[in-house]
Assembly symmetry: C2
């Protein structure tokens, strides 16, 4: 089902083709980056592949590529960045689904990692996917044929590390856990989501934009910050409006677990309006770059219309 936000943006066919090509590309790259299933420890490598391949819209990778198109970043760099952010995202899903965390049995329409394998394996899968993300971005040969300076490779690693840790994604997850059963203000909820999903989404766009000018980087940062929050608001809306089959994960979890969401704090209609406002802010941020930012603009529309 579509998230019925009654927004004017449409996702055109040209963008759908581009997104589809990039989704296939990142799927292939992840496939050849992940250790093969027949390499010891076989169970761990099999579970890493199970948890990473064959699912998801790859929004973070698409953000990398779209930002790279604006900033004319080398494709090899955008590839490495896209692989790295998708690995970090996959690790976070595996750990978040574990019984001690969100205890979710379903992910991308399949049993989650700890259900398909077991808890110790899921723990090690997440740990190993995180290491692999940094291994990919720190390949010594990565920048050999690229126009970027090697200092920028260090910067990419630093951006990803900060976005992943306690002052980024993991910190946001900690805040989310401690928010269960509590009343949060919209501002508190927003600052939690800025870390929990926003930090990695912003990092995805920034890593792709690394070749950009200062004004491009500022614009991409603002774009990603707004669209990252919009993404989360829609997630909250979908948790209420979708069912588990279309969502590919357990729907209605937020209400069951008594989590504060944009819907509980703002109500459904205001939450939809808020998502729309955040989308508009994102579009305004990249307006100065006209046609060069077209891919990012289309991607924002795609995120608003996502039906997963």
């Amino acid at each position: 089902m579509m998230c019925n936000l009654h927004l004017s943006h449409t996702v055109d066919k040209n963008f759908q083709t581009w997104a589809s090509i990039k989704q296939s590309r990142i799927e292939h790259l992840l496939d050849i980056t992940l250790p093969p299933s027949d390499l010891a420890p076989i169970n761990l490598h099999d579970a890493m592949r199970y948890s990473t391949l064959g699912g998801g819209k790859r929004v973070r990778a698409l953000l990398c590529y779209a930002a790279a198109e604006l900033c004319e970043t080398d494709l090899a760099i955008a590839d490495a960045a896209a692989i790295a952010v998708e690995l970090i995202h996959a690790y976070s899903l595996v750990h978040d689904d574990m019984p001690c965390m969100d205890n979710d049995d379903l992910r991308r329409g399949k049993p989650s990692c700890h259900k398909q394998y077991d808890e110790p394996t899921a723990l090690l899968v997440g740990d190993s996917l995180q290491s692999l993300a940094f291994e990919v971005l720190s390949q010594p040969e990565l920048f050999e044929n690229a126009s970027l300076l090697v200092n920028n490779q260090i910067l990419m690693l630093n951006i990803l590390a900060k976005a992943s840790g306690s002052k980024g994604m993991a910190g946001g997850q900690a805040m989310d856990l401690s928010a269960v059963g509590n009343q949060l203000s919209q501002m508190e909820l927003e600052s939690m989501h800025h870390l929990k999903t926003g930090a990695l989404i912003q990092a995805s766009a920034l890593l792709g934009a690394l070749n950009g000018s200062a004004s491009q980087l500022v614009a991409v940062r603002s774009f990603a910050s707004n669209i990252g929050l919009a993404f989360q608001v829609i997630d909250d809306i979908l948790d209420v409006e979708a069912n588990s089959n279309t969502l590919g994960k357990t729907a209605g979890k937020d209400a069951i677990s008594n989590k504060p969401t944009y819907v509980t704090i703002l109500g459904l209609d205001v939450a939809k309006q808020h998502a729309h406002n955040l989308y508009e802010n994102a579009i305004v941020a990249i307006a100065p770059f006209g046609i060069n930012a077209q891919r990012l603009r289309e991607l924002a529309g795609f995120i608003m219309q996502r039906s997963f």
Copy 2:
């Protein structure tokens, strides 16, 4: 208690002073690297500090510093490497202690992280400590005043990432889990430990040695590989001979959990002889560097005599 290996090496006072200074140094560096306890998310940051500070002999940091002395690596680089390997080590202990893994309530003489806090916090502590290790090593300003090339910073990150992931430490832990209740050959046990503890110990020495010549790097790699295995053999011996108070963690766990160890495979006496042989191999590897390798030599003796 001392692990009574009847070896001839002694740890002299000069080394004890050096080790004590370096232990204080790494403790201080970890203290200022870890986010303060009053920074949100407070509970997570407090638990990260609890799990990292105030315990352990810091063998991995000492290896960094000793290898750095041989290879005349800048102290700032050795510091960053030492912080990073200790953070990776601390993360691995927190995750290994979790109920779904080794289910250990005691670590460094204190309740383990998931006992002192809770399981979700322990999961996020481990995840965040891993990210922080890569954040520390990817500081853009790290190499500004150092004699090393920035390419070497990339190499350090790549060494650490590989040593931590599924083809290193996490992979070894997966093999260890699947070995429970099984008969392993000495070779299978050895290849498991080469990953589980050996990979990070070797990385610790290599990161410190990064400024070294090719022959120094080869020697340090061989030294670390042998002393890393010796370290593990002694761990297995101590698990049998020590009690929980002196060990600072639960003793006798291997036997209870039916894990194959050097003691179960070789018997206590042959295991001790094997540790001694590995120690000798480590010493031979660095012999060509004479007095310049004295710190590594003393550290090897310290590892053999450890009483924790």
